[in-house]
């Protein structure tokens, strides 16, 4: 009679329970508790989680409000005290704003490709609106790499500005713009980009914000032959490259992006023009 090997059985069990003894568990899912909520201004809050979820600046996560919905966000702080910084915009964020310290939520991710910071000696960071949030950890990584950092932030008005202190500390130069002139200069953050390029030998531009702004950044960078990395946004459903909902041309923002650089951006006919809604219907931006 052949004696069964115990070790085989053990290996089989291991195969079944790779994630903390939970079979067929959801990939990249983390149950998280809110540890702290900071009001950055009347419209914007930062939510801190009790778990460290390793991500690169520019990658995104899907935040799940149990029974409500699940939406994409990028971390505004990485490492031990990771957080997202959110602007109240619709039913989902309104619901999120109701949560308190101790509320349990779910996070899937991180997903997508992050920013590539290697080789950027003189970096320009251009952010508009909520796009400011994910660029802070990027600036922190650039700073660690000893890059020089030139930042231009744009907001609707002074009530929407956040992370000013943080960017002041991280950057070699900080410019602020608002649409109504209530904070910084009246205008748009791209105005400072031309100036930075002329005087600071910028070799890489990082940007996040409304797509009209990103398209402008891309056009400037193309004209000046400068590398840029843009964080694009589309309606994300699955986040794992299968439903196709987040398509921009033949690229999936969730898996091929959300960070795209010149070579790919050049091929995107829909950049700055069209996006799709939940039905998949294409409409003008």
């Amino acid at each position: 009679m052949v004696k069964e090997k115990k070790s085989n059985e053990k290996d089989f069990g291991k195969e079944l329970n790779p994630q903390a003894g939970y079979s067929n568990s959801i990939k990249d899912f983390h149950s998280v508790k809110l540890t702290k909520i900071i009001e950055e201004n009347p419209n914007i809050k930062t939510f801190y989680f009790d778990k460290q979820i390793d991500a690169k600046p520019g990658q995104f996560i899907m935040l799940w409000l149990p029974g409500v919905n699940e939406k994409p966000f990028a971390f505004s702080n990485l490492g031990k005290n990771c957080s997202i910084t959110v602007q109240k915009r619709g039913p989902f964020t309104e619901e999120l704003f109701k949560s308190r310290k101790g509320t349990i939520l779910g996070i899937r991710g991180p997903f997508g490709k992050g920013f590539e910071t290697k080789g950027a000696k003189n970096a320009a960071i251009i952010a508009g609106g909520c796009g400011i949030a994910p660029l802070k950890p990027l600036a922190e990584e650039l700073k660690k790499n000893k890059s020089k950092i030139y930042v231009s932030l744009g907001v609707r008005n002074k009530e929407y500005l956040f992370f000013k202190k943080e960017f002041k500390k991280l950057s070699n130069e900080l410019k602020i713009f608002s649409e109504d002139g209530s904070v910084g200069k009246k205008g748009y953050p791209t105005e400072a980009l031309e100036e930075f390029i002329k005087s600071k030998r910028i070799d890489c531009v990082f940007a996040c914000g409304p797509e009209i702004l990103l398209k402008k950044v891309f056009d400037i960078c193309e004209k000046r032959k400068i590398n840029c990395q843009l964080s694009l946004e589309r309606y994300v459903k699955c986040a794992i490259g299968i439903c196709g909902q987040c398509a921009i041309d033949d690229q999936l923002v969730c898996r091929d992006g959300p960070i795209f650089s010149n070579e790919k951006l050049r091929r995107l006919k829909e950049l700055g023009k069209f996006s799709r809604n939940a039905e998949g219907k294409k409409s003008c931006l």
């Binding site: 568990s25 990249d28 699955c238 398509a247």
Partner: protein, 304 residues
């Protein structure tokens, strides 16, 4: 080693067909499947009205597959013309338009509209709930399937009609036979299995907002193999074997069960668009090793 396949009058350079509901929402994405080695592609199912689908989470990757309740989000058949025109312009391989109805008569209406746009084939997604009959799927009832297929055949001219069947039917081979008798040109089997459910134990809440979802990926492959095997015994029309096929050996297995072509869905999650090229290569390697010059001799050899 030729991967050439004929199905319902269509000539494919590879038996791999992008399954409906997987990245197939636009012409450029379908083109990317072609560039990566797909033999044909299927558009995400089009229904009678625009639908946003269910709220997220709608798709979750599990360890052995995927659970989804996307909820048939689509732009509605009246808004699909320009995308189909674009597909015809840029695609070289055949494309299949998948349609679904909320009511029985929807299939005929939508098929008539789609047929006029001349796709290479029309897939009938009969796995969605029938709103007229207490929400149970059309695909559970042989008579309803027969009616839908013959209704559609009346308006589709020479365009091949391919019903996609659900493994929830306990007599899937009988349903396939009813479809064949009603004039179907091929059978696609299977749609997602289940439905299943996943609960987050920390919040005690089902994770999909719709609560239940269809299962796909490697965990349902044995079900797909069994269904294709059963259908092959009952019908003469060709079968597109779909369900958890992620490798060349999986593809060979489902063809041995009786499939002429192979639907590719969850594999796009595991290997990205490169899944097509990878599976093509793996099939060819297996065929070479086992002295198969083409796929014809492989089909259905698990029978008998």
């Amino acid at each position: 080693m030729s991967l050439q396949t004929n199905i319902a009058g269509l000539k494919l350079k590879s038996p791999l067909i992008l399954a409906s509901g997987v990245v197939g929402i636009s012409a450029p994405l379908l083109k990317r499947c072609e560039e990566n080695g797909a033999g044909a592609v299927t558009l995400k199912s089009i229904g009678p009205n625009p639908r946003a689908g269910h709220k997220n989470p709608t798709v979750l990757a599990l360890q052995y597959g995927i659970i989804n309740a996307v909820g048939l989000s689509n732009v509605g058949y009246k808004n699909i013309d320009s995308e189909i025109e674009e597909i015809k312009k840029i695609l070289k391989i055949p494309f299949i338009v998948s349609i679904f109805g909320e009511k029985i008569k929807d299939y005929k209406t939508i098929a008539a509209h789609i047929a006029a746009l001349k796709p290479n084939a029309i897939e009938l997604n009969v796995s969605c709930p029938n709103v007229e009959k207490f929400g149970s799927a059309f695909g559970l009832d042989a008579e309803l399937c027969s009616k839908i297929v013959s209704d559609v055949k009346n308006v589709s001219g020479s365009i091949p009609i391919i019903p996609k069947l659900t493994p929830q039917a306990n007599n899937i081979a009988d349903i396939a036979k009813a479809c064949e008798d009603a004039g179907a040109d091929a059978i696609c089997a299977i749609n997602t299995a289940g439905p299943g459910m996943v609960i987050d134990i920390e919040t005690a809440k089902p994770m999909l907002t719709f609560k239940k979802g269809g299962l796909s990926g490697p965990m349902i492959k044995p079900i797909a193999i069994r269904c294709v095997y059963d259908i092959y015994e009952k019908v003469r029309i060709p079968i597109i074997g779909t369900g958890g096929i992620v490798s060349g050996k999986d593809a060979i297995e489902i063809m041995q069960a009786g499939a002429s072509c192979v639907g590719i869905g969850s594999a796009v999650y595991y290997n990205g668009f490169e899944a097509f090229g990878k599976i093509n290569k793996e099939m060819q390697a297996w065929m070479k090793e086992h002295n198969y010059k083409n796929l014809d001799k492989l089909r259905g050899i698990a029978h008998g």
